[in-house]
């Protein structure tokens, strides 16, 4: 059983790597946020059964997130405990490549490279504004953007600047989120794929939000698109043909990777969390902690899940809410969701037809037939809904609401002052480790777990004594 689970996880992770870019130089690297450009949070790299802290680094100042959070409540709709929809810079998210750890800092405007084994600082690179999102490491270069409106490419080993490019349309600096920054800060990370670096600059649609493709080798601009309706905030995602641009509190835009042409804006309740599962985009958390799944070619949602984050493998989805983790039979769930969506569409069309028929000929016999069909559809929708409920394979209480990644057959969960490993077989706790602060940043590489927190701490956990690699 354990073998089965691991085999599935490996298979899916390999598939994810092949499918979603995020070219990992080595299978054990974690070269960008969430491991790849699908932001899958999955690695084939298993963690040891017992973890010990091998080093800890702490920033002089904690992360300085751009946004504080949502309102305390929606007074009209009586919605309390609204979810912050812009959670992308609450920790210095670590990425790991070539035995080095890289961090951007929203507190002191620099990117650091540290020896992954020891935590020793190897180099640091200064920008002129907060670096809110993790660098992407690609073919020996580190790519990152800054609130100063520039994108930087530096040598990953030495930290020497290869090029920098202003992606802001002009160099105008104003106070933004308490710092003197570009009016067009870079707040979506940099995706590098097939020799092209994709990024954005801009906050205020009225002033133009720029989606830009640069030559990854030289920084020369290849194309530029200007959005006038959505900002760009949150980690970019990419497939072979699509670029997904999170839009802060709003819904992500889907663009053509070739030329940045806007294909659509998906429907949902907004948020900067997103992942790609095959050709399906899952994002949220909306105002109440709800993830929506949208299929390629579609704008509307196929299914919604109560949760903040999700991990997807070939057959399963792991869903993470404030208080629990659940494992779902993914294929069956999606099949039922598609069926429910089809039924709902039919229901809506029939309702419309019935309304029109009622206006034209109130006593028409066909109306009874339509009502009967509606009743049947209602029952089928309920059946599909019940079936979806039964897709739950297991559920476990969780006190770790801030982060989730999958390493081998262990779900790694980030909580406040604690990170836990849960067995994917049944959700039971395999291990717990203590950290300083809320663990928003998780990365797994070479059998080591890197955790970054809202206190500015970065911890490395590896094998215990006698179990070293």
């Amino acid at each position: 059983m354990k073998y089965e689970a691991r085999r599935m996880t490996w298979g899916m992770a390999v598939l994810a790597v092949l499918t979603f870019g995020a070219r990992r130089a080595r299978a054990t690297d974690w070269p960008t946020y969430a491991g790849d450009y699908a932001r899958s949070g999955v690695t084939v790299d298993p963690l040891p059964d017992a973890l010990v802290e091998t080093w800890k680094w702490k920033s002089r100042h904690p992360p300085q997130p751009a946004w504080q959070g949502e309102a305390k409540w929606d007074g009209w709709n009586k919605v309390y405990d609204m979810k912050p929809r812009q959670v992308f810079d609450r920790a210095f998210h670590p990425v790991v490549a070539g035995a080095c750890v890289y961090l951007g800092s929203s507190a002191d405007d620099q990117v650091r490279c540290m020896d992954a084994a020891t935590g020793r600082e190897l180099w640091t690179f200064f920008t002129e504004g907060p670096v809110r999102l993790a660098p992407s490491i690609h073919e020996g270069k580190a790519y990152f953007g800054s609130d100063d409106g520039f994108v930087y490419c530096v040598d990953a080993r030495s930290g020497k600047e290869s090029w920098k490019a202003r992606v802001a349309p002009e160099d105008r600096r104003i106070p933004g989120n308490g710092r003197m920054i570009s009016a067009w800060p870079v707040r979506t990370s940099v995706v590098v794929q097939d020799g092209v670096a994709y990024t954005t600059a801009g906050m205020f649609p009225a002033e133009g939000v720029h989606l830009v493709a640069l030559d990854a080798r030289t920084g020369a601009e290849k194309w530029r698109r200007v959005q006038k309706d959505l900002p760009a905030q949150g980690y970019l995602l990419a497939s072979r043909t699509r670029l997904y641009v999170p839009a802060g509190r709003n819904n992500p835009a889907v663009c053509d990777l070739q030329d940045g042409r806007r294909l659509r804006v998906v429907e949902g309740a907004g948020g900067t969390y997103a992942l790609l599962s095959g050709d399906m985009l899952v994002f949220g958390p909306g105002k109440t902690g709800q993830l929506g799944a949208v299929e390629e070619g579609s704008s509307d949602q196929l299914a919604t899940f109560h949760g903040n984050q999700m991990i997807v493998t070939g057959t399963r989805s792991y869903l993470h809410s404030d208080a629990e983790v659940t494992a779902l039979d993914r294929a069956k769930y999606l099949e039922l969701a598609r069926e429910r969506k089809r039924l709902s569409a039919e229901q809506a069309a029939l309702n419309k037809k019935l309304k029109q028929a009622g206006k034209k000929a109130p006593g028409d016999a066909s109306m009874e037939e339509m009502r009967a069909r509606l009743s049947e559809i209602g029952r089928k929708i309920d059946e599909a809904t019940s079936g979806m409920d039964r897709c739950q394979l297991w559920r476990a209480s969780s006190g770790w609401p801030h982060g989730m990644v999958l390493a081998g057959d262990t779900l790694v969960m980030g909580g406040k002052n604690e990170v836990a490993g849960l067995r994917t077989s049944d959700g039971t706790v395999a291990w717990r480790v203590t950290v300083e602060g809320a663990a928003y940043g998780l990365a797994v590489s070479d059998g080591a777990l890197f955790v970054s927190t809202d206190k500015g701490a970065v911890h490395r956990f590896g094998a215990g004594p006698g179990k070293g690699r």
Binding site: W76, H306, R340, S386
Partner: protein, 962 residues
Amino acid sequence: MRMNWMRPWARIAIATAMAMAWGAHAAETGLLGHWEFSPDRGQNSGMRAVSGKEVSFSGGVRLVKDPGPPRAELTGRDERIVVSAGLDRSLLPTREMTAEAWVRVDRVTDWGGVVGAVQDNGEFERGWVLGFVKSSFAFALATTNGGRLTYLTSPATFGTNEWHHLAGTYDGATMTLYVDGRAVAMSKAQSGDIWYPPTGTYVIGAYADDDERYGLAGALNEVRVYRRAMDAGEVAAHHGLKKGIFPAPAPAPRLFRPSYGPFVDWMDATSAVVTWETATPQPTRLTLELPDGSERQLGEGQRQTSHAVVLSGLQPGMEHHYRLVAPMEGGRPVVSRRYPFDTSFYYQPVKVPLKAEDSDGAAALVAKVTRVREGYAMVLGTPDAAFASELARWTALDVVVVEPDERRATSMRKELSEAGLLGVRVTVHHGKGGTLPFGDLLFNLVVLAGPRPPQVPAGEIHRVLRASGGTMVVHGDGQDESAYRRWMQGTALAGAGPLGRVGNRIPMAFVRGKLPGAGEWGHQYGGADNSSCSQDEWVKGDLQVAWWGDPGPRPMPDRGNRNPAPLSVNGRLFIQGNRILFGLDAYNGAILWNWSAPEMRRANVTRDCSNMSASGDWLYLAHGKHCIGVEGQTGARSRRHEVPRTGAVGPREWSYVAAGRDLLIGSRAKAEGMYHGDDGEWYEEYAADQVSRVTSDLLFAMDPVDGRVLWEHSRGAILNSTITLGDGMVFFIESRDGRAMASESARVPNELLGEQYLVCLDQRTGKRLWEKAHDFSALQFMTYLVHARNSVVVTGTDRNKNFHTFAFNAPSATNPSNSGDDLGTAIGGRLLWSETHKEDKGHHSGHLQHPVVIGDVFYSDQRAFNLATGEIVRKDLPERRGCGVMSASKDAIFFRHHFHSMWDLKTDKRVQFEGIRSGCWLSMIPAGGLLLAPETSAGCSCTHAIQTSVGYIPKGLGMAGK
């Protein structure tokens, strides 16, 4: 077997048998779920069930045992007890059902849920819920045959803080609601299977569907759900079995009200000081509740009138609560309301400890001499990072160093990084050439520290210098003063002169003045004339973002409560959050100060007035019985005046406030009459609890410095929403209806506000200049009054949303020759014109629009009228959402459409600043040359991409003025 046909002994026997079965619930027929709330059953983030599925908690559900009965305590804020987030049908009754609970409701809400699985969204009504509707218990259910929900409600209302037994049953044909063992409502409207929604939550302790979430404020002892309908006897038996364990309703604690305060002032990110006063010496204390639920008792408990308690060791970024506790009275505790205090709202820059050498360092001396300590500073020509570091340590300034040499810039960054200053306090910009990349008018301080002038032209320095006090200083070692003079020549900076002594030198300095033609927004509707126009000559045309940032939505009140508008005078911006007050630099958004005042709240200004007004360097805040003079730059509460007591019986509060340079106009209202909007009210329906007017029983003028009362007026119930100042006069509408004047509350229903008079007083003397009896009874939703150009205009809507507008002449008191009347006949109150029309906007709150007056045009609803004649001059006002109201500069109108929007009157261009929406009242103000739009969309469930405070600036404004 119906128990009500049985003899009493038989009932007792059955009840006893059931009592014996009490511990064997799982065996009970049809029992789907049984939850007894007790700490004994608590587990990680939830609770084990007696029978059925365990529940999970969200929010701060507290399981309490002692003193009994065991229960879950809920505040009504964010708690939910979830049985199934996915409406698991196996847990729910399908054909017949009983939902039963022992519940205590502490606060009545529009809708309340005890247990249910429901969706009630417009036409879409499914599921069932046991709970309450306002003060009546309720049971609602929808079936496949019945369609929409049928609500049963108890005819009698329940009392808060009392335990009750509730049961709702449905047997496939009949719904019955039981309260305390007795059937109180019944219906046969539903039959067939229970019809559940496709999605929803099976939840206890909340009324929760996709549209609404009303948390239960109270407690739950037990909830049971059966797949069968109990009969009346069984319900009565269940009630009888347990009723003895619940205490009789206890008298609520006496509410402690400090005579002044409380206020919470920051000391640093994790400590603050709470101050309050009592009318008589008392040993009051403070109980602090930490986010983890633990409590600390604080305070000396000495008999005194002024009390101060330091809160230390607070948890950063978390909401805390505290109560003030006074000595027992008559055996009853006397405690204040439970006040929230959130450490997320600490916005001051990272503090860096001073070094010994800082005391006489050059940067420290510059800061002392210029007195610029907050906001943004730019330093040019400094040889190393030392000056910037010292400036950062000595002040709260965010310092930007401009360094043309790249290597030196890198070196400075390293130095600053090691000192812990880079980023959080100091930024080094590598820049050379003739321009600076920084926006216009944003630096509070520019220090030119090089021996020779920078490469940047002097005009560039002037461009980035903030208006209304931005200071440039030339100060450094070995400076060539004549070179600096030549550099400044021909620019606005040429006026630089000596400014105090810095060490042994007197540096050249330039202080930028107020922008000529810039307007101010010192009152709710712009000026005290209520014209909603600042007369600002700059804010129009091509605007761009000048700054953005905090406060964001978290400290703000809900968007729809019709909250007090922000104010801006003298380069500062004042924002009233949800019981928290902010002072910002209007030109760069730097938060100068903020403090918490949990008793400060005003909502529904549509029927009342704002509680603040600003003039010069002062903000005046009506707070309880006081008006507090707050220093605009520091937030210090340095002046305090008490509302006059003349003729008052009973408690009174300071109600209206209008600040002028040497005069404070105030009004007095009976205490507790103001609206607070704490339940998310939008006040847009015609209902007594929404449209009743807040009235004052005294109008007065006061010296703002010493609090001397200069005159008083008291003749009727003055409608606060109509108090208007203009041209040396005070205007208002007062009701002389004896019922209104005798009302116990300041909040008076329309029906009691008869005999209305439009009154005009001399602002200096309080002497009545004229008055006019007029029938304003058509103004049912609201009554507004505006003064402009020798006329006053009264407007409002009736309950059918027809606007009614009346314009009266109001000859000038200060310059009668301009009044259009001969001096001898300059009597006001003559009706000039009137107009009635059905509201043009159908969108919500369109009927509550406040008018705008620009020059001789009166804009109301979607129309523009000639102010003098009432002639409609245009009807093509921009399309906009109904719930925001317009504001104006001299040449543009600002309003809420989907986003922040502007109508440029010169060009007729209408633009939206996509991505940000304003609030549901007045929240975009043109002042100081900027359009200032504090975040006011808080709580909006929409996906507007950005929720932030923002300032917009016309392009090129930095070059204006001196």
